[in-house]
């Protein structure tokens, strides 16, 4: 997962309504109608949010007759988590390597 992908995923979850929908899915797969129930947004708006989550790799959908059933996409989330975990590790490791190279250069 590249930086841009991680940003897409984090941005998708940074929007409160999308995070709310995402959290509803934590209890199991749901249809758009079930997800929209009780939320102060229209179904088309819910569908649009779900599309963004899907594009960010965080949810997937399947058709069940006329309904679309959404579920959390574990792979996408695992990738995001791994990416977030490693972001500063990678950056600081690169910095440390540069610092060691610099230090060796000065010793010579």
């Amino acid at each position: 997962m590249a930086y841009a992908d991680a940003i897409d995923a984090m941005d998708a979850l940074g929007e409160p309504m999308r995070r709310r929908l995402f959290e509803r899915l934590r209890t199991g797969p749901s249809s758009v109608g079930e997800l929209a129930a009780g939320l102060p947004v229209s179904r088309p708006a819910v569908s649009q949010h779900l599309r963004v989550l899907k594009e960010a790799g965080l949810v997937s959908e399947r058709r069940d007759g006329t309904r679309r059933i959404y579920r959390i996409e574990p792979t996408g989330l695992a990738e995001l988590r791994a990416y977030i975990d490693s972001f500063w590790d990678d950056a600081l490791a690169a910095f440390a390597a540069a610092a060691e190279a610099e230090s060796r250069k000065e010793e010579e």
Binding site: A4, F95, A98
Partner: protein
């Protein structure tokens, strides 16, 4: 699973380098383009060829692409060479929800320990009212930040 603001844990990382603080600070800031892993850690990926950190409060941190275009990463909000700097870090440059990155340079023998803290994840939400409703999302996604930071 309700969590408090303090539990939207800051990312804390540190690394020890064999350079005195002045040199470590200089490499981290002026030299950022020489070590930053662009391919994986920039918006342009392989198109990014340089990064610049303008050395003053109000300065920008940005990447530069091969075609000459730039994309901003952060603003410098504190500049105290060679001890400390703080950045207002845009997790997503298109949204006005910066997080804070604080970097401290602590003398450690002949070298330096660089301590980095990335915080303000709660700001990615829409404020306290919204938070109360959506309190588990970031915990779920960012929980391992705090584990790793211990």
């Amino acid at each position: 699973m309700t969590m408090q603001a303090s539990e939207l844990a800051a990312v804390k990382r540190s690394v020890s380098v064999p350079l005195p603080v002045e040199k470590a600070f200089q490499l981290f800031t002026d030299g950022i383009g020489t070590w930053w892993p662009f391919v994986t850690h920039s918006l342009g990926g392989e198109e990014t060829e340089d990064a610049v950190l303008e050395p003053r409060v109000g300065g920008l941190v940005y990447e530069r692409r091969r075609d000459g275009t730039t994309e901003e990463w952060a603003d410098v909000t504190a500049w105290d060479p060679p001890h400390r700097l703080e950045l207002s870090w845009r997790v997503n440059p298109t949204r006005a929800e910066p997080t804070e990155v604080e970097v401290e340079f602590v003398p450690e023998g002949a070298g330096t320990r660089v301590e980095l803290e990335h915080r303000g994840w709660e700001r990615l939400e829409d404020g306290p009212e919204a938070r109360a409703n959506y309190d588990t999302g970031w915990e779920f996604v960012l929980g391992r930040y705090s584990e790793a930071a211990r």
